[in-house]
């Protein structure tokens, strides 16, 4: 089914969704990304019909659903906290929606769903006795049992133990292929989207910033907000001249002519190399500077590195950290390839 959102406007006191335009193609696995508070969940609830819509329309194929109550829309939702009915068994949870859909499409393929999600051993148990991963699978089965046109997933992985995530990712992919429904997933975590979705949109302060293929957004962010969101921490306003970008007295090789752009360059922190000696070549930038700050993040260290008035953020492994014997104010060199510089 094609879902079209046209000029959608939602007013919730101090929070607004403004002029949302979005089309999901049949069978899409679409990720709606953005920082916390961007309005992703509000858009989801507007699609389900739980939030009053101020303006604009929502279509499924050519059926206008803007003013239909939630039960008539054919849109299922899986919440982050699963929201299983605690007084019903797993089986009754999954069957819950069926009685309201008896007149449609014949018997829904419950057995297939139950088998695919390995729920057979759990059918007679109550939700409170299940682990997080099991609850999530039951919630998925319940939502898909009514053969919805669209399945909305509210941060499906974030509440799960890391051990269950891989499992659920595999299930989500297989269900998406088997059901033929359009999946719309909300997430604040870019890597989650990267591992599941084909297309995506980045939302910020109630507006869509960029819509496109997931790798396109990752590799070619069109705005500074998106660049920052996909992890391009080193974002500088520059002046282009030929295949160089000038900023704070530095000349950065960018490898190609920049035209018709906003005048920003962005470099991923993992593309920066710290070394004791400069690494000079024709396709490589290398600048002298000093360590400004060190932050530890599990497997990796994030290093703020000052070159003139610019602060570069680099990420290095713990291993490299101990090798280099980094300390604040130490002088080092920072290097990156011209091809690692993204132009905005």
């Amino acid at each position: 089914m094609t879902i079209r959102i046209e000029n959608l406007v939602v007013d919730l006191g101090s929070f607004h969704l403004r002029d949302i335009n979005l089309t999901l193609e049949p069978g899409d696995f679409f990720a709606l990304m953005g920082p916390t508070g961007a309005g992703k969940s509000v858009l989801l609830e507007a699609l389900v019909g739980l939030v009053p819509i101020t303006g604009g329309d929502i279509f499924i194929d050519d059926r206008k659903i803007t003013n239909l109550p939630p039960e008539k829309r054919g849109i299922s939702i899986v919440y982050q906290d699963y929201a299983l009915f605690p007084h019903l068994t797993v089986l009754d949870n999954i069957r819950y929606g069926l009685r309201f859909h008896l007149h449609e499409k014949g018997a829904a393929p419950i057995d297939d769903l139950v088998g695919r999600l390995n729920l057979n051993p759990l059918l007679q148990r109550y939700p409170a006795t299940l682990s997080g991963g099991e609850q999530q699978r039951v919630a998925l089965a319940r939502a898909l049992a009514v053969s919805p046109d669209i399945l909305l997933l509210d941060e499906p992985l974030s509440a799960l133990d890391p051990n269950f995530r891989q499992d659920l990712r595999a299930h989500l992919k297989s269900l998406h292929q088997a059901s033929g429904a359009t999946f719309l997933m909300v997430t604040h975590d870019f890597s989650e989207a990267l591992s599941l979705a084909q297309r995506a949109a980045v939302m910020n302060q109630g507006e869509l910033e960029q819509v496109g293929g997931i790798e396109e957004i990752f590799c070619r962010p069109t705005s500074t907000m998106v660049a920052d969101f996909v992890g391009m921490k080193n974002l500088f306003k520059v002046e282009f001249s030929g295949s160089m970008a000038r900023v704070a007295g530095l000349e950065i090789k960018v490898g190609r002519e920049a035209e018709g752009l906003q005048g920003y360059v962005a470099i991923r922190p993992e593309d920066l190399i710290l070394s004791k000696e400069p690494l000079v070549s024709s396709v490589q930038n290398s600048f002298a500077g000093s360590v400004a700050a060190i932050r530890s993040h599990g497997f990796f260290y994030e290093i703020d590195f000052a070159v003139n008035s610019l602060i570069f953020t680099a990420v290095i492994t713990n291993h490299a950290f101990f090798d280099l014997e980094l300390a604040v104010d130490d002088g080092f060199f920072i290097s990156f390839k011209a091809t690692a510089v993204h132009l905005l």
Binding site: L50, E71, A83, H87, V146
Partner: protein
Amino acid sequence: MRKESFLWFALASSFIVLVFITVPLLRMLSAPSLASLWETICEPDVYRSIWLSLYTGISAALICFVFGTPLAYLLARSQFRGKKIVEAIVDLPIVIPHPVVGIALLGLVGKNFWLGRVMQELGIRIVGSPSGIIMVMTFVGLPFYLQAAKEGFASVSPRLEHVSRSLGASMFATFIGITFPLAWRSILSGIIMCCARAISEFGAVVIIAYHPMIAPVLMFERFQSFGLRYSQPVAVWLIVVCLLLFISLRLVGRSSKKINIGSRR
């Protein structure tokens, strides 16, 4: 040590409070002899009044359940202007002096007011009738039911309702299938509290209906006419019967409770 003296003070005053509540009740329960208890329950006046108390109290609780449930649900779920005022109104019956409740209701359905006269002409008797007693009891019991039911509904996550609706259930089907069963324990507690409060009422009922006599009125009359000793056995019977009623209500509610317990393991 200072720490200990503080603890001792707290324990001592807690003990005083508990003694103050329990000792008079225990003394009263143990005062009448078994013989006098048996004699008392055989009197038609006594068992009729206890039966009337039970029947009117349960009726009042059921009326609160039927009419109060939607209001409790709205108060738990929706935000609207004047909600604070509605909540204050709902609590009023607790703080209004009991004879004032009777006087206020009598002012409405008595023969001094058009409503009372209209009802009288239609043959509906409120004053001095079980329906009048039920009306008074409903008035004083409402806040207790509403409070418990509201808390019950508030403890059900709105997300469960959202999911139910997205699966095709209407608002009504969602309420019946999801919200109500999950709030049932609190609702049952509310019904019991409401019923207990209704049966305990005296000051308001005595204004609307001295006759037929509910048990508290009978006790009062016996106390006035014959003294303490003759009112105590009635009090014991009323308390025993109420206890049995509430315990059996809890047991009846147990079958549905099991599921909830299962879900909370």
